[in-house]
């Protein structure tokens, strides 16, 4: 077996299970569609089965492009080359290492494109340019080269990839654009695609050569090596105390993940903006979805929970002389701050929905209607109070979930978080689903009036449960983790916060202008008592302690 065949087989063995799985799914979809068509089942079944096939084939197409790159463990954030390290150690010339994936991807994309061109010729009669296959291959090879080339930092590579994507898109489909827009230039475009293909091969060979030098020669001239060299100045760190050090530890540990988090939030916010038409209900839904996603992202601050009898804390924290309660409170504070930051970022992004003319019109219509009935400041007061209420609810829920996470035991974390989220999400989603279906505000008002008695009863039940839970946690913690004085201080601070929040809410909420939105102060106070978490200050130290000193 020659080298090329051996490496192709190596790549195939890595992906064969996945590719075969998708191909089987595609075949199954076709089979179901065929049978459904024969026995005249409803059309949506045939459509669903065909969609399954189509989706499987698309995924297969991209997986095979990934397979051809021979970058099985590529991590964009790693400044070193993404080319398979094991292959780079083999006694194969660098140009050959580059040419094998180039050949594989060209063969794969050409096969697909020629098949598509034949099908189009057969059914549509149009002739598609075959040089398009080379253009698509060139685009893929440029992409591979960026992944293979060692960079000064991972973010340098990501920036290059992001900037290159539109260019690669133009390279990939340029011939088709020319055929559609200016067919007289098609021969020149085809020639250009051949030239670009040749350049891409040169770039690929250069990247692989650099990758090998970087990995095995440790040359100082190489960017990736220089970036990791000890000559880089490290700022002298100094901490006031162990709490300060732990705060820094938690913030810095996943520093490299933060841009990813931000990217995740941005993408999701943009997606929500694109798919949801603006209305009060959809804005609330979007906010809650984003709060949930940001909660998941922020939870990476805490060590992942573990199975079995070990602590999830790393041994250097487990055996450190820092108090369990300090560890818990520092983590609560850091988590709350980061979650708030991410929610605010997401909220700002939601404002981008105003770029759409229809959304602006909807918003202004609502603004003018409300302002006409009351005063000019009423809409903004309504928005601020609703936003702040939702923010407090979201942060409160996520801090409660954090307390469970601090316990560090996988099964407990999974079940408790699931139960907590389900108990919150079920009534909220039902309420939102009901609210979205309503067309008249008067009807909503009437229904709410009917529910008000029930809601009040639920309020009392909720309050009673919360207070009992709070008392239990305070009692458990004050036995040895928190002094009575500290407990009193925490409870006093929380009480002041709740009362201040209730007064602030009452002051901002425009009830005087809209009497039908009047909410009694006791209700506001009860809501604040429910929403502002108290038990977390006591449950978190208990969770850290239980995680740190495991009972078996």
């Amino acid at each position: 077996m020659n080298e090329t065949l051996a490496i192709a087989k190596y790549a195939w063995t890595k992906f064969s299970v996945i590719v075969n799985g998708f191909l089987a799914a595609a075949a199954l979809g076709l089979l179901i569609a065929g049978i459904a068509w024969q026995v005249e089942l409803p059309k949506y079944i045939i459509g669903g089965a065909l969609s399954l096939s189509y989706l499987s084939l698309i995924l297969c197409f991209f997986i095979l492009i990934g397979m051809c790159s021979l970058s099985f463990r590529a991590n964009s954030l790693d400044p070193n080359s993404g080319y398979d390290q094991w292959l780079m150690r083999l006694p194969i010339q660098s140009w050959k290492l580059a040419m094998i994936p180039v050949g594989l991807v060209t063969a794969w994309l050409s096969t697909v494109w020629i098949t598509v061109a034949l099908l189009v010729r057969l059914f549509d009669g149009r002739a598609l340019p075959l040089s398009q296959a080379l253009a698509m291959s060139a685009s893929a090879i440029f992409f591979y080269s960026l992944v293979w080339k060692p960079q000064r930092s991972g973010w340098h590579r990501i920036a290059l990839l992001v900037v290159s994507l539109p260019l690669l898109y133009i390279v990939a489909f340029g011939v088709l654009f020319v055929m559609e827009e200016a067919p007289q230039w098609l021969p020149q475009a085809s020639m250009a695609s051949v030239l670009i293909y040749a350049v891409s091969i040169g770039f690929a060979i250069h990247s692989v050569k650099q990758a090998r030098v970087s990995t095995f020669q440790q040359s100082r001239s190489n960017a990736a090596v220089v970036s990791e060299s000890p000559r880089r100045d490290v700022k002298q760190l100094s901490f006031v105390n162990s709490s300060d050090a732990l705060q820094w530890h938690d913030c810095s540990r996943f520093q490299s993940n933060k841009p990813w988090k931000a990217l995740g939030v941005v993408s999701l916010a943009l997606l929500l903006i694109a798919i949801l038409p603006l209305s009060g209900a959809t804005a609330i839904v979007a906010f809650l979805v984003l709060a949930l996603i940001t909660m998941t992202l922020t939870s990476s601050r805490v060590e992942p929970s573990v199975h079995g009898f070990q602590s999830s804390l790393p041994s250097y924290l487990l055996a450190s002389p820092i108090r369990s309660r300090s560890m818990a409170w520092i983590r609560l504070r850091g988590y709350a701050v980061e979650h708030c930051q991410l929610i605010l970022l997401a909220s700002l992004l939601l404002l981008l929905s105003f770029l759409w003319q229809e959304n602006r019109a909807t918003f202004w219509r609502w603004w003018i209607n409300v302002a006409r009935e009351s005063s000019a400041a009423t809409p903004i007061r309504m928005m601020v109070t609703i936003y702040l209420s939702l923010l407090v609810v979201a942060i409160g829920v996520s801090l409660r979930v954090l307390c469970i996470q601090l316990y560090g035991h996988s099964s407990v974390v999974l079940w408790s978080t699931g139960a907590l989220l389900l108990s919150l999400a079920t009534p909220i989603s039902f309420a939102i689903a009901w609210f979205i279906q309503q067309t008249s505000w008067e009807h909503v008002d009437l229904e709410l009036a009917k529910w008000r008695d029930w809601l009040y009863k639920l309020f009392f039940v909720g309050l009673a449960i919360k207070l009992v839970v709070d008392v239990i946690f305070v009692w458990l913690t004050t036995r040895h983790l928190v002094s009575a004085l500290e407990a009193v201080r925490i409870i006093s601070t929380w009480s002041v916060l709740v009362i201040a929040a209730a007064f602030a809410w009452r002051a901002i909420w425009p009830a005087t202008h809209l009497p039908n939105l009047e909410v009694p102060f006791t209700t506001v106070l009860m809501s604040a008592t429910l929403v502002f978490p108290l038990s977390i200050c006591f449950a978190a130290p208990l969770a850290v302690e239980a995680n740190r000193h495991r009972s078996v």
């Binding site: 002298q236 162990s242 530890h249 490299s256 790393p314 487990l318 002389p321 740190r548 000193h549 009972s551």
Partner: protein
């Protein structure tokens, strides 16, 4: 039973992970100022015992005191005086050596900057290097540095030299000796590299199947046990059962066996017990041979033994 100067006191400690017994009725007292070696096969219970000492596991049955305190109740005060090197390569790899030192310096009140600088130099560690970029030996040295730079009263090393090169192992041993040479400091050294244990430890305890089989002072080992090499008459394939003889090992025609000198105080007693079998050599037992014999004999020896408090002599 209770020693006022004991660095470690373990009193009838038992631990079960579901149905698997990890520790069985361990009683152990390690006095301040000694270097104690804990040896055992993989899965014998060494790490579980050490986890109890650093407060990572709360005792199910029994009591653990480290430097006179319960490590699960007051970790903030106990761990100020304890240095710990974990079995696994668990340092935060995203930190540089300098950041790790700054982080640990903030944790310990008694951090000694001068000692830290000395150790940095001895271990040839570059503070600007990321831990992820260091070799396994480099990370082990960094872990050791932060474990001893606050001059702990008790240093606990859980398999610190496992998988390391000879130079890194040597550095670790020197650190153990250095810590022990400071007045009143105690070292608990867990390993299954017995030559290292024999070089640095004052006394050694064998743990097997969660049971502490025996503790012996290194200087007493050769007085308490001997190794006898003999040839069995008629090429017997099963060694004879003789009181005080344990851990038979077949080496071709020869057999090696450990002999308890409390049962057979002199060579004539050994000769009488072996009868017609040909004695080739009676020699001082090595730690490795004693360990192998003790572990091999575990099934018969321990089952009948009632738990007793093991106190390490200084």
């Amino acid at each position: 039973m209770s020693d006022p100067v004991a660095a470690i006191e373990i009193d009838h400690l038992s631990c079960k992970f579901r149905r698997d017994e990890a520790l069985h009725d361990i009683c152990l007292t390690i006095p301040t100022g000694s270097v104690f070696g804990l040896v055992g096969l993989n899965g014998a219970g060494k790490t579980t015992l050490i986890r109890h000492l650093i407060g990572g596991l709360r005792p199910q049955l029994g009591r653990v005191r480290v430097l006179g305190e319960d490590p699960t109740l007051t970790p903030e005060s106990v761990m100020q005086r304890v240095g710990y090197v974990a079995e696994e390569d668990a340092l935060p790899r995203w930190m540089t050596v300098g950041q790790l030192i700054a982080f640990m310096r903030a944790m310990y009140r008694n951090w000694d900057d001068k000692l830290c600088r000395e150790l940095l130099e001895t271990f040839s560690l570059d503070p600007t290097k990321k831990l992820a970029d260091l070799s396994k030996g480099g990370r082990a040295r960094a872990g050791l540095l932060v474990a001893i730079a606050h001059r702990p009263d008790l240093l606990i090393l859980d398999e610190p030299s496992y998988g390391l090169d000879p130079i890194a192992r040597q550095d670790i041993l020197e650190a153990v000796v250095r810590t022990a040479s400071d007045e009143g400091r105690t070292v608990l050294f867990s390993s299954h590299l017995l030559d290292e244990v024999s070089r640095v430890c004052d006394s050694v305890g064998i743990i097997c199947g969660g049971r502490l089989l025996e503790i012996v002072a290194m200087q007493d080992l050769s007085e308490r046990y001997s190794e006898v090499v003999c040839e069995l008459v008629g090429g017997m394939s099963v060694p004879p059962q003789i009181s005080g003889f344990f851990g038979w090992q077949n080496r071709g025609r020869e057999w090696s066996v450990a002999v308890d000198r409390s049962v057979h105080a002199d060579d004539s007693s050994i000769r009488d017990s072996l009868g017609s079998h040909l004695i080739l050599d009676v020699r001082a037992i090595s730690l490795e041979r004693w360990f192998a014999a003790r572990v091999a004999a575990n099934g018969t020896t321990v089952a009948t033994a009632s738990p007793k408090v093991e106190v390490v002599s200084r």
